[in-house]
């Protein structure tokens, strides 16, 4: 339907949080992509900041590489900080 390039949209829900992927859209250029993102992804006050990124500029891991990329981490429990006593009062860890 649309010949316009695809853009990935990242929205930061509020101050102090990171931008997270919200979805994608078609737009002729970055300026319009940002405005469309505002209309499509923040109409219910979902965010205070938007990034748009050309989808073509994203280099993604391939599902074919899933085994070599991610499985080796499965049996290395010593990488997880689970062997420490959590000091009292520490949150978000």
């Amino acid at each position: 339907m649309s010949n316009e390039p695809l853009w990935e949209v990242f929205v930061r829900p509020r101050r102090g949080l990171a931008h997270t992927h919200a979805g994608s859209l078609h737009a002729p250029d970055a300026g319009m992509a940002l405005r469309h993102a505002r209309d499509l992804y923040t109409r219910r006050q979902e965010g205070v900041s938007i990034w748009v990124v050309p989808a073509a500029e994203i280099t993604a891991s391939s599902p074919d590489e899933k085994d070599s990329f991610f499985d080796p981490a499965a049996d290395k429990i010593y990488r997880h900080p689970t062997f420490y006593e959590l000091p009292e009062g520490v949150e978000h860890l």
Binding site: M1, S2, E4, L25, H26, A27, P28, D29, G31, M32, R35, H36, D39, L40, R43
Partner: protein, 226 residues
């Protein structure tokens, strides 16, 4: 409060006009954008009409001559009725939203607390509507020969109606719109005839068709609730 009624009618009729684009815009994204702007206009209309009486009665039970919207708001969004044109619509939105932004800015600075509250809310929305029209005017004006021709033709056709739209704020409005036209490489149309009458209830033939569509449900089922 007659100025608020006039502004409310501008917004109401503009909302109805813009809603014609729903499901017909060039892209899904633009469809949502235009629907958003139409809904903003409707929201502004509700606030403004409520200052003048019952919003439903005013919107759905008045006949054409009782409406106070400017003629520009009721014009078809294309060279002919039923012939929706995107460049035409963006030219129309540029003229209308820039004037609304100035009117709402004045409202926000008003001594009347209610009017000032409405102005504060609608200024933000109008700023976005103008930005949307501005962005598209740049792209259409500097796009292809076809897009440039269409937006220039629309501007030439709609420009006379902007006289009534901008009565009392003409200089400030020109200061807002002329730089956008220059930036888009468009020719600022010459001032020629100045059609008017909307503010006193003398409308174009287009308003009747619009009202018939907008009011038919309410008139067929008075007092209907969702």
């Amino acid at each position: 409060m007659s100025e608020l009624l006039a502004l409310g009618d501008d917004a109401l009729i503009a909302a109805q006009r813009l809603s014609e684009w729903v499901s017909r815009a060039p892209t899904l994204e633009e469809d949502v954008a235009l629907a958003n702007i139409a809904l903003d206009q409707l929201g502004a209309a509700r606030l403004l009409l409520s200052t003048a009486g019952d919003e439903d009665e005013l919107a759905y039970l008045r006949d054409g001559p009782q409406f106070r919207n400017c003629l520009l708001a009721e014009l078809p969004l294309g060279p002919a009725r039923g012939d929706l044109d995107f460049a035409w619509t963006m030219a129309w939105l540029l003229l209308l939203s820039s004037a609304q932004l100035l009117r709402y800015t004045d409202l926000a600075a008003s001594d009347d607390e209610l009017a000032a509250g409405i102005g504060a809310k609608t200024v933000k929305e109008s700023t976005y509507h103008l930005d949307h029209a501005h962005q598209w005017t740049l792209r259409l004006g500097g796009g292809t020969d076809e897009s440039h021709r269409r937006v220039q033709e629309a501007l030439d056709s709609l420009w006379p109606y902007a006289h009534e739209l901008t009565e009392g704020i003409r200089d400030r409005w020109l200061a807002l719109v002329e730089p956008i036209l220059a930036e888009a490489g468009l020719t600022r149309p010459a001032d020629r005839w100045q059609p008017e009458g909307g503010r006193t209830g003398r409308h174009t033939e287009h308003l009747g068709y619009l009202l018939a569509e907008m009011q038919s449900l309410h008139r067929a089922h008075p007092g209907a609730q969702w």
